[in-house]
């Protein structure tokens, strides 16, 4: 199934709910066209290969969130995903947006910023061919020493506009921990400044927690800009280093009622990392969310 930007933004351009993209949690049915609930198998297993796709489908997942690299390597795993009737809901570009390591939309080194955009544009082209509706991106950290937040923000806005200009894909800006513009208020301001209909926001529960936000409040602050949710947990116990570990739901500080409130009818992906026992974590995540 391919979903065009127009379809995606139907219903007044507001939320694309589970009715269109997904189903209610735990009610996946044979033969439906849903893509949610989705899961990021690369995060789940900690590996770029040997994903247990059939098992994930049998647990109740209907869609996948994958990395740009996985999109470039579609031939290696797409047949198995098709066989498992798992469709690609979202490309999560954060692995391409590790400041300096891989790139950034606000890099002060222009050649690397352009290189980042070039790679994301290539990903968008593949996504368009495959009919993948969502691309998640995130702000960067401040470039070292001489970049002001305003300069970084201007580059980010320009980059988002450039990505949005090339097709139907919805570009979702997400707040990531240990980076700039991580609050919902800051993200909302940037999405509004970009002012492109296919630029919206995503909320990552674990990231929101690490940023010191309650997920329900963060979702409320994003309002109608919020189109997608990612769910994993974070350990905020006093004295424990703040790390973006993508913990299984229920093992950190996430509260069910807050996550359910944030989720509403949104399409979503489980973004837990649990290489030791991925299927148990995947199963537990759906149970926790239901």
């Amino acid at each position: 199934m391919r979903i065009s930007r127009r379809q995606f933004l139907s219903a007044g351009g507001a939320l694309l709910g589970a009715a269109a993209l997904g189903v209610r949690i735990g009610e996946a049915q044979e033969g439906d066209d849903s893509m949610s609930p989705a899961i990021n198998p690369e995060y789940l297993t900690g590996s770029a290969e040997d994903w247990p796709l059939n098992e994930l489908a049998s647990i109740g997942y209907r869609g996948l969130e994958v990395s740009p690299q996985a999109i470039a390597d579609l031939a290696a795993w797409k047949p198995a995903a098709d066989h498992a009737r798992l469709r690609i809901l979202c490309v999560n570009a954060l692995p391409e947006l590790r400041p300096y390591l891989t790139g950034s939309l606000s890099d002060a080194v222009e050649r690397r910023r352009r290189d980042t955009l070039r790679r994301l544009l290539a990903t968008l082209e593949r996504m368009r061919q495959e009919g993948i509706p969502l691309l998640v991106v995130a702000p960067s950290r401040l470039a070292e020493n001489y970049q002001t937040p305003d300069e970084a923000r201007a580059l980010l806005v320009a980059g988002l506009r450039e990505l949005a200009s090339v097709g139907d894909t919805t570009i979702l800006l997400e707040g990531a921990p240990f980076r700039m513009f991580s609050s919902s208020e800051a993200l909302a301001g940037i999405v509004d400044e970009v002012a492109c209909p296919n630029v919206a926001a995503a909320l990552n529960v674990g990231h929101a927690l690490l940023n010191g936000s309650n997920p329900a409040e963060a979702a409320k602050a994003l309002g109608p800009r919020l189109r997608y949710l990612q769910a994993h947990d974070a350990d905020l116990r006093p004295g424990v280093p703040r790390l973006d570990r993508h913990l299984p739901l229920g093992t950190g500080m996430a509260q069910k009622e807050d996550v359910r409130s944030a989720l509403g009818e949104l399409p979503f992906a489980v973004t837990v990392t649990a290489p030791a026992d991925p299927l148990a974590a995947a199963r537990d995540a759906l149970e926790w969310l239901s």
Partner: protein
């Protein structure tokens, strides 16, 4: 314990990079001693002057006063032959002239510094830049091996502090942590022609060496950086594992400011934008001790970061020409004194490091706290310590007391430490080949390091060659357990230990251990009251022993929750675990026994250097206390024919041992000539 019946076999050869397998095939050759003219070198200067600010558009600028500057630092004052400049000169209009002049004077071009990821190039300060091919090729053609590399300057700390945590999600496995680390350093290497010198700021020197694009390893010590004896166990170990020489340097900076003795009567001030002055920054005594300690560690280059010249001038005649030049500061005088001392004592031998601390290649271990983050207890900068990482930390605290405090205390605690078991350890990673492990009389396996497969095969080989191997039962595969003379059973708990030849049972914090069934040739050195073995020793045909601890990582169960651990300046850092008392009681004397001398007296840092002359030992005693140190030094296997301090040249009387006085916060190197060989030289 090592046998007293025969002489210890001691590796006396220095690292010779060209003797390492694969040297000829390496795309980038490490610096060899031949490249350095078989000499020890000292650093002359750290930068050049320009006719205008390079940052000023259109960024056309020239290096000026080049000859005068080089004359001042290498002729009028012979600080050394190594020039360590900041990078903008690479883009000066007369960059060729600079290279030509360095070449004509047969100087070394070293560690071109101030690369900074994402820093704006046009600022010509801490900036990200790419070395133009034309410039690089010209430097190589002109300088040849006398070009020592571009600076990978404290970038491990920068990665940990600024980038590791933005890896999303944080690595789930340690190989993923390694991969993310490598992503950062691939970028840096590509920008800098993959022709690097590693100025480490943390404990990742093995990984830099592993990348294959570094010519030298080293560090600029003090600042707010790690404890030097602990740190150089890593740097030296990486150098020995990968066949790369290492250098030393000492910084005038500390966490709070920088020492400036340009005007010794000036008050400390914040006027330059940072705290600076005669009493700011690194103390003169620490600078002095670092010179001799780093030199005796085998550094091929040594220097002080800055501050050698005063603002006042003096008249000086050199080569028949008299002129006014800046006077020396106390730092400058200490530099000249240290350089002369090194020239007067060229036969410093090789530091005796009989014990390898070995752990898994992918460990990514870093000290529990450091300058670059307020977080504590992380590996790779983005993964929490596991219990095995705490074992490494806690053993290092026994070997280098207070080491985690380096950079955190105004009184400089931790930068140099006492060494109760001797400054005699190298850190080696599990991928080390046999010929590297073969250097060590004892290998202690630490951390989350499964002893199986290739590592087990290598350790077995070392045992056959007479080495000793130490491990914990929770690290062993069944095959490894057989080597240690046990079968590993289920887990139990205890809170005491009995050492048969000790007068009293030992109370312990609660700990988990594996029940061991011993083979007949295994000797139980400690057990529970119920008779369950806690420490098992087994002798092997090659003459060495295996020593096995039943307790997991010989640590207690967790004693402190994370919220009870504060990371504050001028406060020690608590550990959530404790090394078990019976492990200390057995392991520490065992490790100490590999030293060639016995040092008795108050806590002191000591190291021994050896050479092919088996009746000669060099003992460095570094007193890191404000009290005078007085104690005795006794060679273990021979009497003395003479002893002489290299600091004054005076003889020290003594037949079996010598009594040595080390002034407060000072260092003494003593040469011992023996009436019989103290060891057998391994070549």
């Amino acid at each position: 314990m090592p046998s007293n019946d025969r002489l210890p076999r001691v590796w006396v050869r220095p690292v010779e990079p060209e003797e390492y397998p694969g040297f000829e095939e390496r795309r980038l050759k490490p610096v060899t001693r031949a490249d350095l003219d078989q000499q020890f070198h000292t650093v002359a200067l750290r930068g050049f002057s320009y006719d205008r600010s390079p940052a000023e558009p259109p960024h056309k600028f020239r290096v000026v006063n080049l000859k005068e500057t080089l004359d001042l630092y290498t002729v009028e004052y012979d600080f050394g032959r190594v020039v360590w400049p900041m990078w903008p000169f690479l883009f000066a209009e007369n960059w060729r002239e600079v290279i030509d002049e360095l070449f004509a004077r047969r100087l070394y071009l070293f560690d071109i510094w101030a690369y900074c990821p994402s820093g704006v190039f046009e600022r010509f300060e801490w900036s990200e830049y790419r070395v133009p091919d034309e410039v690089h090729q010209y430097i190589l053609r002109k300088m040849g091996p006398r070009f020592l590399g571009y600076d990978n300057g404290e970038q491990d700390g920068r990665y940990i502090g600024g980038y590791a945590k933005s890896v999303c999600p944080a690595p789930a496995t340690r190989p993923q942590g390694f991969q993310a680390f490598c992503q950062y350093f691939r970028q840096l290497g590509d920008d800098l022609q993959n022709y690097l010198t590693a100025l480490n700021s943390l404990t990742f020197s093995h990984y830099f060496a592993h990348l294959g694009n570094h010519r030298l390893l080293g560090a600029e010590c003090a600042q707010a950086l790690p404890s030097v004896p602990m740190w150089y166990a890593f740097i030296r170990g990486a150098g020995r594992q990968y066949g790369i020489l290492w250098f030393g340097n000492a910084s005038v900076w500390n966490r709070w400011g920088a020492k400036s003795l340009a005007d010794p009567s000036a008050e400390d001030t914040n006027a330059p934008g940072f705290f600076s002055g005669p009493t700011a920054g690194t103390s003169l005594s620490l600078l002095r001790r670092l010179w001799y300690v780093l030199t005796m560690y085998g550094s091929v280059i040594m220097g002080y970061e800055a501050g050698q010249l005063a603002s006042g001038t003096v008249e000086r005649t050199v080569n028949g020409v008299t002129k006014q030049v800046p006077d020396l500061t106390d730092i400058g005088r200490e530099h000249m004194r240290g350089a002369q001392w090194c020239a007067d004592h060229p036969d410093r031998g090789v530091q005796h490091t009989p014990v390898a601390l070995l752990w898994d290649f992918y460990a990514g271990w870093a000290p529990p706290r450091h300058l670059y983050t307020g977080d504590t207890y992380l590996v790779w900068g983005n993964m929490p310590y596991e219990k095995g990482d705490h074992q490494i930390d806690l053993l290092l605290r026994e070997l280098y007391p207070d080491y985690p405090d380096a950079g955190f205390f105004h009184n400089e605690r931790g930068f140099l430490t006492a060494t109760p078991c001797g400054d005699s350890f190298d850190v080696i990673l599990s991928n080390a080949p046999r010929q590297v492990l073969d250097r060590y009389a004892c290998i202690v396996a630490l951390g989350e390091t499964p002893i199986e497969g290739e590592l087990l095969e290598k350790l077995s080989w070392c045992l056959q060659r007479g080495a000793h191997v130490v491990a914990c039962a929770n690290q062993l595969s069944p095959e490894a357990a057989a080597l240690f003379g046990v079968t590993v059973g289920d887990q139990g708990e205890a809170y005491h230990a009995v050492i048969p030849d000790h007068p009293w049972p030992i109370n312990e914090p609660r700990f988990t251990f594996h029940r061991l069934t011993c083979q007949p040739d295994a000797e139980v050195l400690a057990h529970t009251r119920q008779g369950s073995p806690l420490v098992v020793r087994r002798q092997h045909e090659g003459g060495g022993f295996t020593l096995l601890f039943a307790a997991d990582f010989f640590l207690s169960e967790r004693l402190l929750s994370p919220d009870k651990i504060a990371n504050e300046v001028d406060e020690p850092l608590a550990s959530p675990f404790a090394t078990l008392e019976h492990a200390k009681g057995i392991l520490l004397p065992y490790l100490r026994s590999f030293n060639l001398v016995t040092v008795d007296g108050p806590p002191v840092q000591f190291l021994v250097n050896v050479s092919s002359r088996t009746d000669r030992l060099l003992v460095t005693l570094c007193n890191n206390s404000p009290q005078p140190w007085e104690g005795t030094v006794r060679p273990k296997r021979a009497g003395l024919t003479s002893a002489r301090t290299w600091m004054t040249g005076e003889e020290i009387p003594g037949k079996e041992s010598i009594r040595v006085l080390v002034p407060p916060l000072d260092v003494v190197v003593v040469e011992l000539l023996l009436d019989a060989p103290a060891f057998e030289a391994r070549r």
